[in-house]
Amino acid sequence: MSTSSEPVISDRVAESPEKLRTLLRRMMTIREFEHLGEREFRNGLIRGYYHSYAGQEAVGVGFIEAMDLTRDYIVDHYRDHGHCLAVGLDAVNIYAELFGRRAGVSKGKGGSMHMYNQEKHFLGGDGIVGGGISVATGVGLALKRMGKGGLCVCFFGDGALDTGTFHESLNMASLWDVPIVYICINNQFSMGTRLDRHSSLTQLVDRAAGYGMATEQIDGQDIGVTLAAAERIFAGVRERQRPVFIEALTYRYQGHGIHDKPHNYRTPEEEDPWIHRDPLLILGQRLIEEKIMTGEQIEAMRQEVAAELEAKVEAAKQSPAPEDRELYEDVTL
């Protein structure tokens, strides 16, 4: 495991055709999920915040695929729909949460940023930038105490590195040998602020240098890379019982939230190279090259996924709103 700030050229994972097809389908599901979600926001069914995961799929899907969810746990940030899908939550329940319905992941009480599911070992969703980093550290410490080899995966954005709790938490995790993988999803922006305007160093692995912890920067666009890195890193964390910090380089396609117009602060030209390295495209091309799927099959899969999700949207719409008395439930009065 590298402790330098040099990007590590990881081997692409060599997976079975079936697995690769599944991964493509999962990333497609996230992409289509967000498209439909944004549509429903504009239709007025979703209110408040909507942070799309489009463009970042290879990070979440790669890392979560490598987890052992019988014993590992996730603590997430607010951009959480994609991760909810990746751990296997049903899109019906995620949409239902976004619609504020009883069938929602959090019974309609949490909303977009506050999905939680004990059964899937998904401990949130969090609206406070960096708010989950210390919680995840505690989860990792608990897993260590439990002694079953479980680890915690903690996702957050590049903006979270500017919060003091990032620093405090990494220091404690290193001091206490916590089995945790901190994954910074560096999508180049903290809301409208480009990396170099909010971070004194723009190689974010360098900002995590002060904790005696292994760090690694990886390409977050190629799921072959993220999955291989994840498998290798998780094995190391389980064995060594030491925390690791990962910087996954990726890009946020949409604005920060649904109301944000990113072309107020960035140009289509700078988006171009990222869109050319689209995670779905990269895996799709590989499947074509390796003759696992044809372009037509991929497009058919996309349509199938989209149709499935349309049905999920409809199913979610059928769920009733919580009953008024539920306002006062789940809290001691």
Binding site: G48, G111, S112, G127, G131, T163, G192, Y328, V331
Partner: protein, 334 residues
């Protein structure tokens, strides 16, 4: 603090009124500067700092990283040096990250230094469930109380666009640290704003509506609810006065006392959670100083005591309702 009454007014959103206040003060005094998340290049998430970055440049309109505790501290440090920083919290919820700087530094340095140092800064941002619905539990809280309890701070909140401008200008010119709470639900609402350079005092409550039967007392966004309730009460023949507290620290009770002397009844209305909310202090003062004038217990209508839920029906329920005010007022008249 001198109040001047402006000659001309113009309709605009509260965020525009606040923007005018900032701009005028920045033009007037080069020591005034603005800092916070996305206040500059992005033009401010709630539009309050719109245009300031291009007009005044990055030295006076500073985009900060997501480091609330420390950029409040940066504000304190600049204030100690004679600047007049206006520190924006994108939402006041995030000031929970900065509570140590606010309580232990911003508020106390003047006192702890035996008066040797001053901290003339403003901490401002939107609070409560708005302007948009669906803010959920960590983004739509009304934490007024946390500031109001802290000696050394001034804590004010405008209920309308006109005051928003005049009070923010007064806050910037004040030598004390001021927490300026912008009612989220009003951010995009239109109203008349004076076009001149006018100030609204930071320590004076105001009667918004005269009435003889019951006094409705609110602050910030709840004043509009009181006015609505007063109109509904009028239909059933009840004459309700409305008092806008405007400042919570110091708390100017005189207009409320005067009104209650006539009405002998009061209802306190707020978006904050009821238990230990700011309204409790208003009730406790009425208890102490207006007890002998009261013909019924003072009641409260407040936000419901749960984290702010997401589902539309629950969110709506969680807010103080005009009907609740009307029925509380009627109850005091029974």
């Amino acid at each position: 603090m001198a109040t001047t009454t402006p000659t001309k007014t113009k309709k605009m959103a509260m965020h525009e009124a606040l923007n005018q206040a900032l701009r005028e003060e920045m033009l007037r005094d080069p020591q005034v500067l603005v800092l916070g998340e996305e206040v500059g290049l992005y033009n401010g998430v709630h539009y309050v700092t719109r245009g300031l970055y291009s007009e005044f440049g990055p030295e006076r309109v500073m985009d900060t990283p997501i480091s609330e505790e420390s950029f409040v501290g940066v504000g304190v440090g600049m204030a100690l040096m004679g600047y007049r920083p206006v520190v924006e919290m994108m939402r006041m919820d995030f000031s929970l990250r900065a509570m140590d700087q606010i309580y232990n530094h911003m508020a106390k340095i003047h006192y702890m230094s035996g008066g040797d140092l001053k901290v003339p800064m403003v901490l401002r941002g939107p609070e409560g469930p708005g302007p948009n619905p669906g803010l959920t539990a960590q983004h739509g809280q009304q934490l007024t109380l946390l500031f109001a309890h802290c000696p050394g701070l001034r804590v004010v909140t405008p209920s309308n666009q006109y005051d928003a401008k005049g009070m923010l200008k007064a806050a910037i010119r004040c030598d004390d640290p001021v927490v300026f709470l912008e009612p989220g639900p009003l951010n995009n609402k239109q109203g008349d704003v004076g076009e001149d350079d006018y100030l609204v005092p930071l320590d004076q409550a105001e009667i918004r509506r005269e009435g003889t039967d019951v006094t409705l007392i609110g602050y910030g966004a709840s004043v509009a609810l009181c006015l609505q309730a007063a109109r509904e009460l009028e239909r059933s023949g009840v004459s309700a006065a409305v008092v806008d507290m405007r400042s919570l620290r110091p708390l100017d009770m005189a207009p409320a006392y005067a009104s209650v002397e006539r009405t002998n009844r009061a209802v306190v209305v707020e978006y904050a959670w009821q238990s230990y909310g700011p309204g409790a202090e208003i009730v406790a003062r009425l208890m102490r100083d207006a007890f002998w004038n009261l013909e019924a217990p003072v009641l409260r209508v407040s936000g419901k005591e749960t984290p702010l839920p997401y589902a539309a029906n629950l969110e709506e329920l969680s807010k103080p309702q005009v009907e609740e005010i009307v029925s509380a007022a009627q109850q005091t008249l029974k």
